[in-house]
Symmetry: C2
Subunit: 247 residues, 2 copies
DNA sequence: CCAAAAGTGTTGAAGTTACACCCATGC
DNA sequence: GCATGGGTGTAACTTCAACACTTTTGG
């Protein structure tokens, strides 16, 4: 800080990242596999690790994410701080901490972050330096290491809330996408069915999508129109449109 | 933690509380005055301090708040973590830290919380153990210690967002209140004018207020009807009404 | 009787919901 | 020609925004 910069690990603070991806069908979360030290099993955790002393929190989250998955330079939104004194007390977790941490008994508070990325932009490579990071469909995720399940739930809740008040999630899709894909994305995140016609009307009325000439090819049904997201119009809309809240 | 409980201060983590109060006219925030070590001036800060090792974050926030202001057992909502490495680097702040902290150079990450309380429930007593905690009207608050201004702004933003999606803020008012007072409260928090008739209609339609027989007395104008908040109906409404978001 | 705030309705516009059929393509 | 998902319109209803005058009280 201030005068003496100090590039050492801070043994008390970590950052954990909830990275959402969408494969045009279901919502996924990027998890890393950890070998349990005791058994043969692996168990799953969010990508996360201790921060450095001289590192801003969001920088740390990005660095840790990069080290564990290879993802780079992602906009991360903070979920909040998680710091129950017993959040590291499950036997599996204790074993893992003992194996890798200098001070395995330290109380660690973690700051949760989340982000949305296109699953095509990140294809996990089992053989790479990114140790086994994999996309797991969100309905298949059960218990996670530490309190990571709670962090994931918090992130999903924030994502839902945000999605209902402003259009986001375009980075979960490829550059060119169809309205049906966007529709499925919304349904996957919110976990509800949305009327097709009303959804389309609402989306198009916002005037942040640009319809391309291009259409789907090789599909065994009427080919779908491609759209792309117009970032310029989106930002104009953000300024004017979304400040005016309910009242 | 886990096996060896450890009731010592955690030198790296603090909790800061943004307590909103309403005097039936303007929105206030509870701040504590700190003597600058160097000059004669005082400067203002949020009530906050380091947490204990064995203490959950929200427990810590409540304890710290109690120690500094006397307020007890408040429901605190988390704003988030604030951890810029240079958040403690202003000269005034450094001087204060050197005077009171064991390790004044440590990097401290703080968790911000906010809450709403009735200003009548808490009348600061200059002579009490609560060192000079006072209500300051929110428009009069300028710079604060550390990054407390940023925490305050974050809390206010969350409060606004929450207020626009669900009715809250009844704990900012006395038990019996008039619709005009509630109206002023909303305007004070949101910082905008709201149409009187539309506001009343909307509030009453939610059916969470109970009109009392009682009316104002001794006012030099038509006396206003008193209402009280019906918590039961509010919770019923929360279950059914506010899950259904925009889509 | 004056000042001050309380209280009250209507209208037009916008937004929301619900709902069913035809279309273009590959096989 | 059939299976598949793409694409379209309308009507009833609810919500929202804008707007001005009368009432009750104290002094």
């Amino acid at each position: 800080m201030h005068d003496k910069m100090n590039h050492e690990l801070n043994p008390r603070i970590s950052a954990d990242c909830v990275i959402f991806g969408f494969d045009l069908n279901t919502l996924n979360v990027l998890l890393i596999e950890r070998e349990t030290v005791v058994g043969l099993d692996t168990y799953k955790a969010l990508p996360g690790d201790l921060i450095f002393e001289d590192e801003p929190l969001d920088t740390a989250a990005n660095r840790v994410l990069n080290e564990l998955t290879g993802l780079e330079d992602i906009y991360l939104e903070q979920v909040g701080a998680f710091g129950d004194p017993d959040r590291l007390s499950k036997p599996q977790d204790r074993a893992w901490l003992k194996a890798v941490r200098q001070d395995p008994d330290a109380r660690v508070i973690t700051i949760g972050y989340y982000s949305l990325v296109g699953m095509n932009n990140y294809v996990p490579q089992p053989a790479s330096f990114a140790r086994a990071a994999t996309w797991i469909p969100i309905e298949e995720i059960g218990e996670l290491a530490f309190d990571h399940r709670e962090i994931l739930d918090g992130a999903l809740k924030k994502l839902k809330e945000k999605l209902t008040v402003q259009p986001i999630g375009f980075n979960l899709l490829p550059e060119k996408f169809t309205l049906s894909q966007l529709h499925r994305l919304y349904e996957a995140i919110l976990g509800v069915e949305l009327d097709k016609r009303n959804f389309r009307r609402k989306m198009l009325k916002m005037d942040i999508l640009e319809s391309l000439e291009e259409r789907q090819e090789g599909v065994p049904h009427k080919p779908s129109q491609f759209y792309k997201f117009n970032e310029q119009k989106y930002h104009d809309l953000l300024k004017t449109g979304f400040d005016n809240f309910g009242f």
